[in-house]
Symmetry: C2
């Protein structure tokens, strides 16, 4: 950044930077809205799966109530396919409709230590598994 | 790792590695026990503060019900002072009794975007602020 007097643009930049640093309580994650890049709300987060040791989010467990005819099932999305948008106050998910329609669902008794399940979800979205 | 046949020790190592990869649901964080290195249970986690963009844990908000005479107040601990111990099924906190007794408490309306508050907590425990 150039050393100029702080103008409107850089103030906005600073504000955006602050917003990027926003924190959320683990017990208030539920209900966080999820959007398309165009601003369409497509669902909400039910919970985040957190790696105990590193404290890193690995999956967002999502509900798409009615979007694309998806029912009340929950779906694990790799954290890396979510982008927080401070203006929308929620996450953008940039995957195709087709991908969402056939998304691997969140089974009730998922064994999260099962690398095959983790790999299947990651492969589905074309991202590396969270442990890599 | 050397290419030897898998023996008891490396099996144990693999199991520990798996345990290190354990995940926890954001809505099940509450109540996670916190220990001393000697195994004494000293309190529990009420919630984790998660950075929205990166999805990283920044603070554990802890209760020390009665430990060292600490009351029902909550205290923010920088995530970096917690170490997950798979054997105990909880986190170890390696700070001195003296540090805990005078720990900065969690004010009801903490402004998490206030760098001064974040810096004060980090400085208190002698760790870098989470944003560095």
């Amino acid at each position: 950044m150039r050393n100029t007097a702080m103008g409107t643009a850089s103030k906005a930049g600073a504000a955006a930077l602050e917003a990027n640093r926003d924190l959320i309580e683990s017990d208030r994650v539920e209900g966080t809205p999820v959007y398309r890049s165009n601003g369409d709300r497509i669902g909400h987060i039910e919970r985040i799966m957190i790696e105990k040791v590193s404290g890193k989010a690995t999956y967002a467990i999502m509900h798409f109530g009615g979007f694309l005819g998806m029912g009340e099932e929950a779906y694990p999305l790799p954290w890396s396919v979510l982008t927080y948008n401070p203006e929308l106050g929620g996450y953008e998910v940039n995957v195709s409709d087709e991908q969402l329609k056939n998304a691997p669902s969140y089974e009730d008794n998922v064994d999260w230590t099962d690398r095959n399940y983790g790999k299947r979800v990651a492969d589905y979205y074309g991202v590396p598994p969270y442990w890599l």
